[in-house]
Point group: C2
Chain length 406, copies 2
């Protein structure tokens, strides 16, 4: 008997009616002869409501308590889904992170899964039950509840699928799959039938919100195929997998955009060894994720150092960096929270020159100024003014002919 892991996002579980619709879908997978494990997110808006409740009590809620609080959101949706399945005549049981054996480290709000003890899940499956697991949460060795950070339920699903030896992990969401660009930005965006792990990691890291990049990385490590599809329709979705036919398709696979970009520049930093560490260590300790780092060529032993963070982290980042800038004798800091980034991604790019030039030229011809550039093997990212991001996406979609099947 095949084992399938399905994950449903918060929008798919946003009301009693939607939960019942998801139950019918899950039942269908069970009827098809599979053992089924479902990972559920909290019902839409629940997490925001809980955070808002915490903020009414205190401006700076403690991370350990926030995790204990947020974990209830997934427990609620899981029990409701189990009830809905039972009312359809199926045996189903909901498990929270602790019951499902999901052990994590103790970095609250951004914990990492250390191991999964599958005994309880396996026992429930073997007794014929559909198992509903609370996504996004785990438990430390000391029995404290942790959460896995943004996109954590995707990670729970893929990690469980890998641990249990599932043949497929299905991520059901409110979009129909992975597109060549965000369809709200570019009406001509085309759904991809498949995409490689590497490409998906790059797209997801740089703005495509359809699946969390850490989940794709885990899928890649375990060579586990991941299907991204809509919970509201029966269209085919996009399969994320290892081998995608490289030759027969356009080498740019997709465009990602991300408006959650804030830039900090430290002006006239003395160019001495150890300065960069001094600046970035406090950010790392504070759990602030730094995205792009650019250091200009040194002029007369001074340099400008620019990095980007998510907008939520800007105030905290400035608070940490400004004293260090003073201390090391820099001229000061500037910042800008009106930026966005646009990225082109494609495995073929690594081996073919000319993509960067084509990208910069297309943006230039559209009158879009590039503030920063960063690249990976299979991605080129430009940071531009936020107000130009839709124009940039549409310009690049046309320039790389993404509307045409690859």
């Amino acid at each position: 008997m095949d084992l399938v892991v399905q994950k449903y996002g918060g929008t798919s579980l946003g009301s009693a009616e939607r939960i019942k619709a998801v139950a019918r879908r899950v039942a269908g997978a069970h009827d098809a002869g599979n053992q089924v494990v479902v990972v559920a997110s909290a019902m839409a808006d629940t997490t925001d409501e809980l955070i808002s409740l915490a903020k009414q009590v205190t401006e700076y809620p403690d991370d350990r308590e926030v995790d204990q609080l947020l974990s209830t959101g997934e427990m609620v949706s899981c029990t409701l889904l189990a009830m809905a399945l039972r009312s359809l005549g199926y045996q189903a049981v909901s498990l929270n992170g602790a019951q499902a054996g999901i052990k994590t480290d103790s970095f609250h709000r951004r914990a990492r899964i250390l191991s999964i003890d599958p005994h309880r899940i396996t026992r429930e499956l073997d007794s014929g039950r559909i198992v509903i697991v609370a996504g996004f949460q785990g438990i430390t060795e000391g029995m404290d509840i942790t959460t896995l950070g943004r996109g954590g339920s995707d990670l729970t699903a893929v990690a469980l699928a890998a641990r249990l030896g599932a043949r497929l992990c299905e991520i059901y969401t409110d979009v129909e799959g992975v597109y060549t660009a965000d369809p709200r930005m570019e009406p001509e965006a085309r759904k991809l039938a498949d995409i490689s792990y590497e490409e998906m990691v790059e797209l997801a890291t740089h703005g495509a919100r359809v699946i969390h990049p850490r989940a794709v990385e885990v899928g890649q490590v375990y060579r586990l195929p991941i299907l991204v599809a809509s919970s509201f329709s029966n269209t085919s979705g996009t399969l994320i997998k290892g081998e995608v036919d490289l030759e027969a398709r356009n080498k740019v696979r997709g465009i990602a955009d991300d408006r959650d970009v804030a830039k900090v520049t430290i002006l006239r930093v003395p160019d001495r060894p150890g300065i960069a560490a001094k600046i970035f260590e406090p950010l790392a300790e504070a759990g602030i994720s730094v995205d792009t780092i650019v250091q200009n060529a040194s002029v007369e032993r001074f340099t400008d150092l620019t990095f980007t963070v998510s907008r939520n982290d800007l105030a905290r980042a400035l608070g940490l960096v400004e004293p260090v800038a003073d201390e090391v004798g820099a001229r000061g800091c500037t910042h800008d929270a009106t930026l966005a980034k646009v990225s082109i991604v494609g495995t073929g790019m690594a081996s073919s020159p000319g993509y960067a030039a084509r990208m910069f030229k297309a943006l230039y011809q559209a009158g879009i100024n590039i503030e920063l550039i960063t690249t990976s093997e299979i991605r080129i990212t430009c940071i531009i003014a936020e107000e130009q991001v839709q124009k940039a996406v549409r310009t690049l979609h046309r320039a790389f002919e993404l509307e045409k099947p690859g």
Copy 2:
């Protein structure tokens, strides 16, 4: 250092503002040099909202899943209270039933506490923390979440206080203590300074909702004093304890009323051994709690058998009893859900005759018909028409001169 256990009910925790007010109270107990364990109920209405959510998904939600669902209510209020204490500068940690080591049997929705493993709580207290424990919930040996039934948080508080060796268990609620009658019914009702365990069990069992009778019973077993007081004021409350001065006070201590009464009568039951067991076994198996049972004197080997249940259970009780009535050859069943009961309670009653007669006479003179009568050592209960219950309470309050200090 003394250890105090405080329990706060849902109304006391009904909003962010109220949670902050409770935090200040808890902080006060800590400032006074006590180690403090707080047991919190779910915020007012939360449990009802969760039940209503479950009912939107299925008419008959599974008990195991309901427990997993309801347990989130107390987790939310506990984390918020811990956050509020931290924002006041106190070290505080919230623990759910599993983390607090509260082990129960596996009868969902009405589990009983089997044992409490105090290690985690003791460790947190020893490190200077205020410990906030989720009331109403526990965990089975198999790691399934259970709830303790109505009033379960009171039980959690008293059981924890007993296990941890607290000198006092404080139950904070939205009333100022235990009254001679419900003050909404009888404006002349008087707050009692103290009351015995036995009296409190009878009052609570027969309608006084200020504390759950099981909690009082546990207090009695461990000779643990329980203070019932208001979380909204600083008045002195009522102390439930073992030794109350018997001579110096009126022998009726209080009047309880309860409108949640439904009566089932099985007509013309053959008077054979084993019939009563046949009727009540299915009710017990279905978890329906039968309150009063009255069997009339047998006439020509037939008898009428009457019992009362809570109104919520009436339909299920009839469904179980009607087939049995048919099977044993009774004439049929009647039922009435427009009844209420009124009880007088007092330890002194056991040794002094005449209380029953005084009660019946007072009700008769007020034109109130008595449908059923039951008694214990320290209680006399009359079942009457619901519409007459307030009149009955006021009549009895006057008849036994409860407005006068005892």
